[in-house]
Symmetry: C2
Subunit: 147 residues, 2 copies
DNA sequence: AAGAAAGTTTAGCATAGGCTAACTTATATA
DNA sequence: TATATAAGTTAGCCTATGCTAAACTTTCTT
């Protein structure tokens, strides 16, 4: 009985990690979109459907559908046939993601990972990094700057 | 024209990273399942539906459905109402994932991340780490062993 | 050996994230 | 200005991953 209680607790802890991964996944796409929209606005003044689709490597219609969700979630605004903009929350999230992205990528570089790989791996890793880990990575970059 | 060709190339490179992330995601679940099944077999001689469901924090029916896919993919074997086993490929994948998992977790510990966090973050990160990055992590662990 | 409990499976539903094809609107150029 | 091209939208499809509820086996207990 004491044993099975302990087992229950262990499993709860264990399953929490997987639950977090699943939650991270559903937040991931939103992060990628707003970051990309922010980049596009910075680079060329506006973000357009087609550019997002190309950069993401996805069909146009997929972008449209996803943007609808993001609009519902209050991250994005748009009018039919017009460019896409970010709400206040959208900008905030974009900044957050971009910051994380930079730290992870620079960390991988500092660790000695080749540049191309660092870029590619950072894209997958960034959404699964907790505040603690991010802090440790930042510390490492600070002590071992790549350039 | 030269410019738009260059842009096309840049976008192709960029989108490749996202494509890889999406591919990683669909492989992820299979990896988690076989690793967990391997653990259960090691720990108690057999893997059962309910245990997997508890550890993953997911409903029983979800496990059943996923196992059907894994069986189709040749990673798992099972007979109705009986325990679950791994095929040769299943074991191979499980070993691979476990190895990656261990390196990532020990790497995070060596980096100074708290134990609980390391465990939890490793679960998300491990599936997005390329061979290059894994090698860099292993090197780091080797030079900065945590214990 | 019968009935209760535990575990497994099926059915049916929902959401997210992909796709293509057909259609509509905006823009650029002849 | 008219029209061709580019861009955005809609509709309808698919798969993966979740869920609950109900049905069916197996196992345990009396």
């Amino acid at each position: 009985m004491a044993l099975s209680n302990k087992k229950g607790k262990v499993n709860k802890l264990r399953s929490a990690a997987f639950k977090r991964v699943r939650a991270d996944h559903s937040a991931e796409l939103a992060g990628d979109y707003v970051e990309m929209i922010a980049d596009l606005i910075d680079e060329r003044g506006e973000a357009r459907c087609t550019d997002i689709a190309m950069r993401l490597g996805v069909a146009n219609a997929t972008v449209v559908k996803t943007l609808k969700r993001l609009t519902d979630q209050g991250l994005v605004t748009q009018e039919p046939y017009r460019a896409i903009f970010l709400t206040g929350d959208g900008w905030k999230l974009a900044e957050d993601v971009k910051r994380k992205h930079e730290i992870v990528e620079r960390f991988l570089l500092a660790l000695g990972v080749p540049a191309e790989t660092a870029k590619s791996d950072a894209e997958g890793i960034e959404h699964h990094v907790s505040a603690d880990t991010l802090k440790a990575m930042a510390r490492f970059v600070f002590r071992n700057p790549f350039n």
